[in-house]
């Protein structure tokens, strides 16, 4: 028994003939921000779904703070920003946060969450009236409201402009500063470089390289070059 925020042990996941994960081993330690990198179809979203108890591994095991990801106890300690096509548009920002706060035993105060997600002044707006960046910040607020110890962000800055992306980065750093952990999947290598303590590159459902952004970069000029080299070498 351990109390690690997240642990994947030889996890495989098949969708019919497709092997989305092939023996994934991955551990997230307290206070760590792990960036999961990979091309489309590498298995990033499948890994996130297994971690959140939305998808059951074909074999192997996923633990969240030592427990089953589907247990309510695990779910109170984890918050996530998923890629969601549509959120109910007629509820106001504060109403969404208020409702989600009622799901948790020790929620953060609503005003505190609004501030942490940079939503001051937007509390009374309906979700449908917000810009893309603001909508992402609401989803971020919903992930924070339960006072989680592990935050899972599935491509949180896709489609955001530079300014919105930077402001979300700032909020993610503030979260980590409290000794809590983050798993982030991203396409943007600059994002991994800016935020992560550790980068895990997955390819065809298994870990291909792992290390600090500096280690992964090696002799290449940028993380992006290193990433391309890795993919070409495989």
């Amino acid at each position: 028994m351990n109390n690690l925020p997240a642990q994947f042990s030889r996890v495989t996941k098949n969708y019919g003939m497709v092997e989305a994960l092939r023996g994934l081993d991955l551990t997230i330690r307290p206070g760590e921000l792990v960036a999961l990198l990979g091309a489309n179809g590498a298995g990033k979203t499948t890994a996130v779904r297994a971690l959140l108890g939305l998808s059951k591994p074909t074999s192997g095991e996923v633990r969240v703070f030592g427990g089953d990801p589907r247990d309510a106890r695990s779910r109170t300690r984890i918050g996530a920003v998923l890629q969601v096509a549509r959120v109910p548009e007629t509820l106001r920002v504060r109403e969404h946060i208020h409702l989600f706060s009622s799901y948790y035993p020790n929620p953060r105060p609503i005003d505190d969450v609004i501030q942490a997600a940079g939503l001051e002044g937007l509390e009374k707006r309906k979700f449908g009236q917000l810009s893309g960046g603001q909508q992402k910040r609401v989803l971020f607020a919903l992930a924070l409201v339960g006072n989680p110890d592990l935050l899972v962000l599935d491509e949180p800055t896709v489609g955001l402009d530079v300014e919105a992306r930077r402001s979300l980065w700032k909020q993610i750093r503030a979260f980590i500063a409290g000794g809590r952990s983050v798993l982030l999947t991203t396409h943007y290598l600059a994002e991994a470089e800016a935020l992560a303590n550790r980068v895990v590159v997955i390819h065809k459902g298994t870990v291909m390289a792992e290390g600090t952004p500096y280690e992964i970069k090696g002799n290449a000029d940028t993380l992006e070059d290193a990433f391309i080299d890795l993919l070409e070498a495989s």
């Binding site: 108890g53 939305l54 309510a72 984890i78 969601v84 096509a85 009622s102 309906k126």
Partner: protein
Amino acid sequence: MKTYLLEIKYEFLKALRMPQYALPTILFPIVFYLFFGVVFGQRNTGGVKMSEYLIATYGAFGVIGAALFGFGVSVAVERGQGWLEVKRITPMPIGAYFVAKLAMAMIFSAIIVLLLMIVGTTMGGVRLEPLEAITLLAVLVTGSITFCALGLALGFLVGPNSAAPIVNLIYLPMAFLSGLWVPILFLPKPVQTIALWLPAYHFSQLALHVTGGSRGESVLGHIGAMFAAAVVFGAIAYLGYRRDEGKTYG
């Protein structure tokens, strides 16, 4: 408990602020009733005034609409577009999600029935004793459960974009064939036989037992049919839910 109440409150607010749901759901039965119940209200059917007969059947029509669209279409949309997953990864008890939608459909149902009663008594010359009014409201709102179960089953079987058209394809023919628009006695004999297999028919007959104008069949038989339909739809919904979970958690 607090979660359930908040979930109900916000589910209701969400729907109320959605004109594409709230307006047709509430207005269609009222407008139809004004046309047929008030304008032709003084004619007789099955021994009662049309305006009294139609308050029961348009009440049933409105309740079914609130259930199929409020429950069915909204589950299909929220499930298909990822919002249900955002909720499922929280510790929210999944029951709260469904209870809130059921409560929302029942509140809308009560609003529709009360409005019909107001229109009927003020403009259609309908006379309802207080006990009759309360019984009719209770019958119509309780019957909503069967159609929420149907909506739930549809919500788990159809996609987010096809949900509204498919619901209409079931809702409108079922309403007509069950005698909700035009009294069942005016419909051809074969249709009257088909109606026996439609839950909306049994629902409207139960309501007509209160207002007068039912075909005098057994109340227990209608309740049994409604109950059986709820069980069948509930089972289909459960299988759909499991299939949905299996697609992800399988």
